[in-house]
């Protein structure tokens, strides 16, 4: 884990309200793995927003990192105003990455909305591990769909304006009904409601499933105890999302 003030290389709007921000940071780029995140100081020297904001690393190149985000509040609005020439104080890589190299053959990536963020980086790893990768992406409507750097993408939109008309879980179930997948493992990320449904769906179908959770964080490094996730069982009632997650096996946690 390092903390560094790094230069912003570029900021690009890639879909409706969706931005890709690229920063230079070779130290993190060299070690980060799919599912890990940065805690980013979006405002320097001002107390609003006060806290850092967590963002998955979406892609990593030799010496640069990409974040993928949309504007939901003050912090992301500020972030979207950054561009080449600006600097950003980042802390990372944080959290436990997805276990990409388990016992399975086909990775079923399931992303709802901004949940696609961690998957370009994960996809690269999966391919390195010679896994099959199939990706299921859900969005509200076609303008919100962004599927760059993903593999074998199946799209669902709530309004049917692109791909399957329905949500991404329905799309996945539909797909699994019509296709035989050998030794699958699901990797999911998205709104908690969707992850809950995904967790239930994967349990019913007997497919192992790993989720990347989202929630408020203050420190991002395990000192504030602000990010509890309820465990299914175990001696401790809560796990910390920032240091024991954000990726969890779906059977470990209560959503």
């Amino acid at each position: 884990m390092i903390q560094e003030v790094v230069p912003v290389l570029s900021r690009e709007q890639v879909a409706d309200g969706l931005f890709v921000l690229t920063v230079r940071c070779s130290r993190i780029a060299n070690s980060v793995r799919g599912g890990q995140f940065l805690n980013v100081r979006v405002s320097a020297g001002v107390s609003t927003p006060l806290l850092r904001r967590p963002f998955s690393v979406s892609r990593a190149h030799d010496d640069s990192l990409e974040l993928l985000f949309n504007i939901v509040g003050g912090g992301t609005r500020l972030l979207a105003s950054k561009g080449s020439g600006d600097q950003l104080d980042i802390l990372g890589p944080l959290g436990v990455p997805f276990r990409a190299d388990d016992e399975y053959e086909t990775a079923l990536i399931v992303a709802g909305g901004l949940g696609i963020a961690p998957f370009p980086l994960l996809t690269e790893e999966l391919l390195r591990f010679k896994k099959n990768v199939k990706t299921f992406v859900g969005a509200r409507t076609t303008g919100h769909v962004y599927v760059s750097h993903l593999r074998e993408v199946h799209i669902a939109t709530d309004d049917g304006s692109d791909g399957f008309h329905g949500n991404v879980i329905q799309l996945l179930e539909h797909y699994l009904k019509h296709n035989r997948i050998v030794r699958p493992k699901i990797f999911g990320c998205g709104p908690t409601k969707m992850l809950k449904a995904l967790s239930e769906s994967s349990r019913q179908q007997g497919i192992q499933c790993e989720l990347s959770l989202e929630g408020e964080m203050a420190c991002g490094i395990g000192i504030c105890q602000g990010c509890p996730v309820e465990r299914v069982n175990g001696p401790k009632k809560y796990a910390l999302m920032c240091t024991e997650g954000p990726t969890f096996n779906s059977t470990e946690v209560v959503l």
Binding site: Q3, C219, G226, P228
Partner: protein, 311 residues
């Protein structure tokens, strides 16, 4: 920069606040903890505490509202898992203690007294007194007095009581601590606050209300430090919203012997080190040989103060 409390030497006047620096080991990649004046541990209770259900934190305007519920590993696990690391450090280590009965405070302190490596204690009295139906010890002068006098005989090390600002006259609490043999008071713990989610119509925090910290409360903390430092002779350790050396210097001038950096460590774990460097620089710029001479050096006529003012 240094000061001492009951024979314990602090290398400088900047400590990290309880609950905002873990047990010191989590941030060792980021911060040279040996440069700190002292580390105050997360509050320790007799048994491990799970803490409150989510949601535990809410950001507010220049503030942080938390209801961690004192999630901690308990004093036993602390001694086994955390103390060995803390023992390797060249800085003062204060154990912060929380409890739901006076006996529990005594038990935790006694357990820690048997160990090497704890230099002193800070007592968190912002805890529900189970005997009194959950009323906070910290808002009950008699309870604070009793906690202090029961703990005093159990240790020869510095005993610091951390006061809550959620009272009418915090100086009365500092006075009972002084009378009961406390070595210092930390001023302040968090301020009670609340936030509501207007979409779900539910409180944002699972515990409804929580504790407010961060820059938003700095003016409040400063006023409390000023009030307390004029009411007692024991040292006051200032805490609340400090994020820069100039904030820290405000507290020293208002009467704090030392300060703690809390929430600001979440924003930048190195804040406390920057505060130390900034105080040094200020002293040089202002031609001050001894930072201690800043303590309470506010140029003000107290008769113009708190109780006189019309709000």
């Amino acid at each position: 920069m240094s000061f001492s409390l009951r024979g314990v030497e602090f290398k400088n006047r900047v400590l990290v606040a309880s609950g905002t620096f873990g047990y010191g080991d989590e941030v060792k990649d980021l911060v040279d903890v040996n440069k700190l004046g002292g580390i105050i541990t997360k509050s320790l209770s007799a048994k491990p505490r799970d803490g409150n259900p989510p949601r535990r934190i809410v950001e507010t305007a220049s503030g942080l509202l938390n209801s961690i519920g004192l999630a901690n590993i308990g004093v036993r696990a602390f001694i086994e898992e955390k103390l060995p690391y803390l023992n390797t450090l060249d800085t003062v280590v204060l154990a912060n203690i929380a409890a739901s009965s006076i006996q529990e405070y005594c038990d935790v302190l006694a357990a820690l007294e048997e160990q090497q490596g704890i230099d002193g204690y800070e007592i968190n009295v912002s805890c529900p007194n189970v005997k009194e139906g959950g009323l906070s010890f910290g808002t009950d002068c008699n309870a604070v007095k009793e906690i202090t006098s029961r703990l005093r005989p159990l240790t020869q090390k510095p005993l610091i009581i951390k006061l809550t600002p959620n009272v009418t006259r915090i100086s009365e609490f500092a006075q009972v601590v002084e009378a009961a043999g406390g070595d210092a008071v930390s001023v302040i713990n968090t301020v009670i606050g609340m936030a509501v989610d207007i979409t779900t119509r539910r409180p944002k925090l699972s515990s409804i209300t929580g504790g407010l910290s961060g820059p938003a409360i700095k003016p409040i903390a400063l006023a409390k430090v000023y009030e307390v430092s004029h009411a007692v002779r024991i040292p006051v350790i200032g805490v609340g919203g400090i994020s820069s050396s100039s904030d820290a210097i405000e507290f020293l001038l208002a009467g704090a012997t030392a300060v703690q950096v809390g929430t600001a460590s979440f924003v930048d774990a190195r804040t406390s080190l920057e505060v130390i460097d900034g105080i040094k620089k200020y002293a040089i710029d202002q031609g001050i040989a001894d930072v201690g001479s800043l303590v309470g050096a506010l140029d003000a006529d107290i008769s113009a103060s708190v109780l006189q003012s019309w709000l």
